[in-house]
Symmetry: C2
């Protein structure tokens, strides 16, 4: 009988403690709790200053499992779509500066007032096609993150892993997927698509689905508090060849209200016992 | 150029006005608003008495686009699963008594405390396999309704049309699908799967996805108030051969608080203008 593969190193996604800690506190918190990785959101990165942040992350010896986030391509007019492209180029520069394993892409929802879902999906494809050469020349891997279908209208028209991999196929080298158990756990086609993803898995995120879930965005659970079989999905991802970090990303009003040191402590314990 | 196919007859799903009207008022309301169809939930049907309801629906000349609902197969133990089978047999009897075009199946979520999603899906398959012969002999079509993935934990592990059609393939004659735009609009594979469904489409439901959506169950929108391209999905369904009713089903605290005659009036206007 084969032993289960060892779990990858834990990484703190900074949004998990965003109400109380900036990036400097997150870096110090990772050191204090012996958490080997970090994945900043761009707001805290920019607030600290990209150069200074890159130095401090490096000095702390942290791996950077991702930068959150590029994307948001669909817009009501050409100027809006152009602005998104420019912002994504800046995100690529930032991901390169901090040595992120990938730039996570939250692709965007329908433009305001639009019901044209195929059109929005086409805008995502076209926006990505414009930035991929720039990312490739910067050595930054694009991590397409399929988001839960309940976010389709306003956050991500990229809804399934299969759809993300079709985009990877179309866009070629340098484009992978960022897989969050929260967004994909329900998918009847999940195991087949994870096997298909193979070496294109650029990031793996954990949290949990609570019953009941009281908010479509800000009610994610701590791993172990919900119904997702995280070890089963992790095993699929590792069987596909992924050996990178296991990033814990909670968007949760309940956990934002807690002392961040307590959040990190519980997160680490759950990483070791239920992920 | 081909003319767009004529829209099917409107049908009132009784849950739309459930806070204020029982089945008798719904039947009278359909007559008053010249709404040709009705689809009762079992609670209002049983409250009126199945025999009496069947007579009054027939006398009112209403078509019955469905009976809501059977399903809820997964359970923590064998006794619970057995009870679900028995209840589904009663639902089949009721659907037969009122001449429902299909018995809509909301298949059920994870058993309490379980994280075994493949196991729950297997329970759904096995439960359906047990009742399909009974439904077939009663002449009642089973309408498997894939529910939005946000309901996977607690209402339906049947999450996509593709998954529902795989079940239809496995279960054979007498099993079709009930398609609600709310549950499937986001699916990147939708047009292909609707074409695959063909004559197995046993019901078609409308409502709308609101932005923002503030509740995972009870915040559905009136057709036209949200972002779903209902005519596009209706055209796919009709191109697949469906010529049945267009059933409006709102689970909405906002609309439940309104005068039901106003709800029916707006529903009918929207059916004619945006569906």
């Amino acid at each position: 009988m084969m032993a289960a593969p060892a779990i990858g190193p834990l990484s703190l996604n900074t949004v998990t403690v965003k109400e109380r800690w900036g990036l400097a506190e997150c870096i110090e918190g990772c050191a204090r709790h012996a958490i080997p990785g970090i994945s900043p959101w761009r707001d805290v990165l920019q607030a600290m200053g990209v150069g200074k942040a890159a130095r401090q992350i490096r000095e702390a010896g942290l791996l950077v499992s991702g930068l959150c986030r590029g994307g948001m391509f669909p817009a009501a007019d050409a100027a809006g779509r152009r602005a998104a492209i420019e912002d994504n180029r800046r995100a690529i520069d930032e991901a390169q500066a901090i040595g992120a394993a990938c730039l996570v892409m939250v692709c965007g929802g329908l433009p305001p007032g639009s019901r044209d879902l195929p059109g929005a999906r086409q805008m995502v494809h076209e926006g990505l096609a414009e930035i991929v050469p720039y990312a490739r020349s910067a050595g930054v891997t694009i991590g397409l993150e399929p988001l839960h279908p309940m976010t389709c209208a306003d956050r991500s028209v990229l809804s399934t892993l299969g759809q993300a991999l079709d985009l990877c196929d179309a866009l070629g080298e340098g484009v992978g997927v960022a897989l969050d158990v929260y967004h994909v756990w329900w998918d009847p086609d999940l195991s087949r698509q994870i096997a298909r993803a193979g070496s294109r898995i650029a990031g793996f995120h954990t949290c949990d689905w609570l019953v009941p879930t009281t908010d479509l965005v800000f009610d994610r659970g701590m791993p172990g508090d919900g119904v997702i079989d995280i070890p089963a999905i992790r095993a699929m991802v590792q069987a596909a060849g992924y050996a990178g970090a296991v990033e814990c990303e909670l968007l949760s009003r309940r956990w934002w209200a807690e002392d961040p040191d307590r959040v990190l402590s519980i997160m680490k314990e759950r990483h070791n016992t239920v992920c």
